[in-house]
Amino acid sequence: MSGFPIPGFHGRVLEIDLTTGTILRKPLDPQLALDYLGGRGLGARILYDTIDPACDPLGPENAFVIAASPLIGTNAPTAGRGHMVFKSPLTGVIGTSNSGGTWGAAFKATGFDVLVVKGAASEPVMVDIAPGRVEILPAGHVWGMSTHETNDVLAAASEPGSPVRVLCIGPAGENLVRLAAVANDRNRVYGRCGPGAVWGSKKLKAVRVRGKEKIAVADKEKYQAGLDQALYLMRQVPATKRLLRELGTAGLVELINLISMLPHRNFRDCLHRDEDVERISGETLTKTLLEKAGSCFLCPIGCQRHTKVAGRDGGEQTGEGPEYETMVLMGPVCDIYDMAAVTRANYRCNELGIDTISYGGTVACAMELFELGLLTKEDTGGLDLSFGNGAALEALVPLMAFRRGIGDRLAEGSYRLAASVGRPGLSMTVKKLEIPGYDPRASFTQALGYMTSPTGACHLRGGYAVSLAFFGGTKEIPRFSLLQSPIAIRNMQNTGILQDCLGVCRFTGYAFSSDPWARMVSGVTGRDFSVAKLEEIGNRVATLERLFNIEAGATAGDDSLPPRFADLPVIAEGRERRVSREDQDRMKQDYYRVRGWDGGGKPTAESLRALRIEARKK
C-alpha cells in the first residue's frame, strides 16, 4: 500500500524506452490524477505530454500509454479494463482502445498506475513486470506466434506465484497491419485504431504482469454505498440482469434491423429479408453455436460467447464470438448471412490479432471495388471477392495478417485501399476508421457521434445513440432531431469518457449513469468526485483529445461522413433519410458550440482556461 497522497492510486508511473532500454519509475503527478482520473483521460494527458502529436505513428517517436483507474483494485463491477492511448497508424489522430479480461487488474496489482512505452527495439522484445523487478527480455522465440500461443507460452514460462497475465500482439501487429489489435486472455481484444501495429513498430511482442499490490480505500462506507447502488440497479434492468448473458451482444441484430439501422452491402442500404437476419441473430447463435456464456473480471453481466463451430474442411473449432459488431460488419455489410463463416473469420482475427470491425469494413469495401471492376481477379490472385462470399471472408484473414497478395493492400485499411483506386468515397469511414454496425442515416444523433468521435467512426468514443433510438425515440430526443442531437451526443460522449477513465464496461450504462460511480470514486479516494465534477472531467478529456488531433493535423473538414450518407437515402420510420452536408454542418457547428470550441472546431482560450487544460509539456 503506497503513501501516495490520494488513496486508490499507487502514485507510480513506469516509463520504458525501448530504443535505449531505459526503465524509469516516476512519481504520478497528483494533480493529473485528480484532473484526468485514470484510463483514457489520464492516458491521453500523459501521451500528449510525451509525444509530438504530429509524429509518425509507426516511428519510434510514437508511444503508447496504459493507465489504470482508482477503482481498479477494488471489487467495483467490471472495474478491470485496461485502457490504451496512442497515436493511431490507421487514422493519424488519437487512438484509444480498451478490453475486458483480467490484464488491467493484474497490471494495477504490479504497483503501477500507468505504463508508458516509447522508442523502438531493434529485435523482438517483451516487457516483464513482476514484484520488485521490471525487465525488457528477448522475445524472438514467440515472434510469429498467434495471440493464443504467445499467451500460453509466456504464461507457462513465468515463475509460479500470483496469477500471471499476458498482453500481446499476433502476426498482424508484427507485420504493421494498420488495423492490428492487442489481445489479453486469448480473446479479449484492444481492437480499434490499430494499437497492434504501434507495438509491432516497436518490436514489442508482449507485456507480462504479475503482482499483489493492493490499493488503499479512504472511506469504505461511502464506497460500499455506491457499490450496493450499482449492483442493485444492475439486477433491475433486463439487459444487465439476464439478456446480455442469454443472447450475447448479437441479441441486438434483430432489434437494430427493426429500426432500419442494420447496414448492408458496404452501407449501401439497410434492406434485409427477415429470414436472413434470423440466421445471424443472437437467438440463433445461442441455439446453434453457444457452448457457454462467460464473464470478464468482476462482471455480473456475462456477455462473452464461448462457441463451437464446424470447420470449413471438417473437424470442429472452438473460440469466442461473434459479438454484435463482428456479426454485422463481417455479415450483412459484406452481404454474408452465414454465421459459421463469420464465426470462423472472427476466430482467425482473434488469433492473428486483427480488429474485427475494421476487418469487416475493409473486406466490404474491397467487395464493392471488385463489383465495380476496380479490383480484378488479377489483383486478388484469383480470389472471387463478390459480395456474399463467406469463403473469401475467411481466406482474407491470414492474407491480411501476413500481408500476402491482395492482403497487403487490405492491411492498409479501407480508406487507403479505396484511395489507391481513386475512389476514397467508397471507404465507409470517418477519419479513416471503419464505421461500426449502426447506419448513421437511421439516427442523426449517431451520425453526429461518428463525425465528432475523437478517434474516427466509433460507437464507443462517439456516443452510443442506439440507446436513444430505443429508450429514446422520445419526443424530447427523437432520432432525427438536428436541434437536440448535439447536446444529446455530447452528454453520451461524456458518460463514455467517464466509463473509459474508470476502466469499467459500457454495459453498466444500461443500468445506471454516473451517480454510483461518483460515490465509489469519492469513497475510494476520499476526495469529492461529485457527478458535476465527473462531468467536468468528461469535458476536459474531450477538449484535450481535440487539441491532440488539431496538432496532429485534423481539421473540421475531417468531422464529416462519407458522401454516400448524404447522397443515398435509406428508409427509416417510413421516410427517406439521409444526412445532407448542410445538416452535417449545422449539427457540427452546434456541437462545437456546446463543447466550447470555435466555428473551426478549435477549443477557445476561454474553454482551456475554464477546464484548466495546460499547454503541452513536450
Binding site: A239, I259, E323, Y324, G473, F507
Partner: protein, 91 residues
C-alpha cells in the same frame, strides 16, 4: 379489428411465439391491444407496472417507437404491426 404482433427476446416465451395476428375486438389503441394480449396475470406483469408500461421495454407501431407517437393511447388501424421487445444494448 385484426392487427399483427411481433415479439423479440424473452417476449417470445411470454407470448408463446414470434408473431401472430390478433383480434383486438372493439379496441382502438395500443393500450387496448396490450390488454387483449395480456390475458393472464403473468403476461400482464411482464408488460405493465400498474397502468403504465414497465421500464426497459420498447413498443413500436409500424416500426415507430410509441413514445414518438402518442404512447399507450396511440391509435391503431387494422393490419398495423405492434412490436414488443426489451431494451437491449450491445456492440
Amino acid at each position: 379489428m385484426i392487427i399483427k404482433t411481433k415479439f423479440f427476446a424473452y417476449f417470445r416465451d411470454v407470448f408463446d411465439g414470434r408473431e401472430r395476428d390478433v383480434d383486438i375486438g372493439d379496441g382502438r389503441t395500443v393500450r387496448d391491444a396490450l390488454d387483449v394480449l395480456c390475458d393472464s396475470p403473468g403476461r400482464r406483469a411482464e408488460i405493465f407496472a400498474g397502468t403504465d408500461l414497465k421500464p426497459h421495454l420498447v413498443i413500436m407501431v409500424n416500426g415507430i417507437h410509441i413514445q414518438s407517437l402518442h404512447g399507450l393511447e396511440t391509435e391503431l388501424k387494422a393490419g398495423d404491426t405492434l412490436t414488443v421487445f426489451p431494451f437491449l444494448g450491445g456492440g
